[in-house]
């Protein structure tokens, strides 16, 4: 069990990246990446849920008996999701309206549950918090990159509406690469999500190969 923080960080952000290596949590990865801003917002919401639920599961791990652990995990994740849902509805309303349905759906995202089962159930509270947080941030990076690629090719912008959705401080991030109506529409439509994710998995394999690492040929699919 790696309780070494450096490994945890590296695992979460790159080596075992939830999206590109483990292929978990695909639904928000496809649905919420029509722009980099949406991907970033969705990723942060998921990261918050993951950090909080990993921490709680690790704290209570001695109290949670083996037989009822799955219902308890689901309950904890669902409760954290509801907290995020209520808080975003109240204080980040514009972003909430965009993400809508996919905030409650974090509950059935396989990534948080997979990390609870694989890490938090057997670790101390603080390493679990770090694991949840950095797995979540790795997820955020993946979603932002996929969103960025789709947005640049599809609509010719990057981080459009960031000031509206995330706050005025993000205005400087809004960029335009192509003139309006020049984008390849397909990329922001559903098929683009599949294409971009497929090619980005290949890109990560290529980078891993260049770095002399073994490439993972299959995704770990333990949970639905």
């Amino acid at each position: 069990m790696p309780s070494n923080y450096k490994t945890i960080i590296k695992d979460g952000l790159w080596d075992n990246n939830g999206v590109f290596s483990m292929l978990l949590g695909m639904c928000p990865t496809m649905a919420m990446t029509t722009s980099a801003t949406n991907g970033f917002g969705m990723g942060l919401a998921t990261a918050a849920v993951m950090a909080a639920s990993s921490f709680l599961v690790a704290v209570f791990r001695k109290r949670i008996t083996q037989e009822v652990r799955i219902p308890v995990y689901i309950l904890i994740v669902a409760a954290m999701v509801t907290l995020v849902d209520l808080a975003m509805n109240a204080w980040m309303h514009e972003l909430y309206k965009v993400l809508g349905l996919f905030i409650p759906l974090i509950v059935s995202n396989c990534l948080p549950l997979a990390r609870l089962e694989a890490f938090a159930a057997r670790s101390e509270a603080l390493p679990s918090l770090a694991d949840g947080l950095f797995m979540g941030l790795g997820f955020t990076i993946a979603l932002t990159v996929i969103g960025g690629v789709r947005e640049i090719i599809g609509s010719g912008t990057l981080f459009a509406d960031a000031s509206l959705l995330l706050g005025p401080a993000f205005r400087s991030m809004e960029l335009r690469f192509l003139p309006a109506d020049m984008g390849v529409l397909m990329m922001v439509l559903p098929p683009g999500g599949f294409f971009v994710t497929g090619y980005l998995v290949v890109a990560k394999r290529l980078l891993d190969l260049k770095a002399g690492k073994e490439i993972q040929m299959t995704g770990a699919h333990s949970v639905g």
């Binding site: 695909m26 669902a78 509801t82 059935s108 439509l189 190969l209």
Partner: protein, 193 residues
Amino acid sequence: MKETALMMIGAALVNNVILARFLGLCSFMGVTTRIDTAAGMGMATTFVITVSAMADWAVQHYVLDAYGLGFLRTVTFILVIASAVQFTEMIIRKVSPTLFQMLGIYLPLITTNCAVLGVALLLVEGNMSLIGATLFAFASAAGYSLVMVIFAGLRERLVLAQVPRLFAGPPIAFIVAGLLAMAFMGFSGISTV
């Protein structure tokens, strides 16, 4: 009548759960390596989606709305779905052991299939009647099963194809899924006019 039919076609094909709404992608990528497993998963999920949609509808109308507990929606829905999965397992085991043998291994996976929760949440947001909700859920689930089987068929062929090593496995599956999604975009517009 005509409106109901159009609504069902829309739910099954135009706004397909997997290819347009992006729900249930884990199972879409995970258990579509063979047609028979994909069909089994599709049937089991169809059953659970329909049953839990009815249960969630009742919970929303008679418990959450009635007592102003809207904030517990996510928690109760996921618990209802987990119970519906258990319930389905018990019923199928009693009624048809053969069916249970076919579907048994998929049942536990369905709780974390976001198509189930997603359809339930869509129903609540759509403000439907119980019958409308049940039909919508069934049509969505049928669309889900259809795409699962088609995609499994494609992947069975894909095994025989020579794929560059870097693309082997998930990446080529994603690209094929993208092509399938493009094909399904051809359905948009048919539930209008």
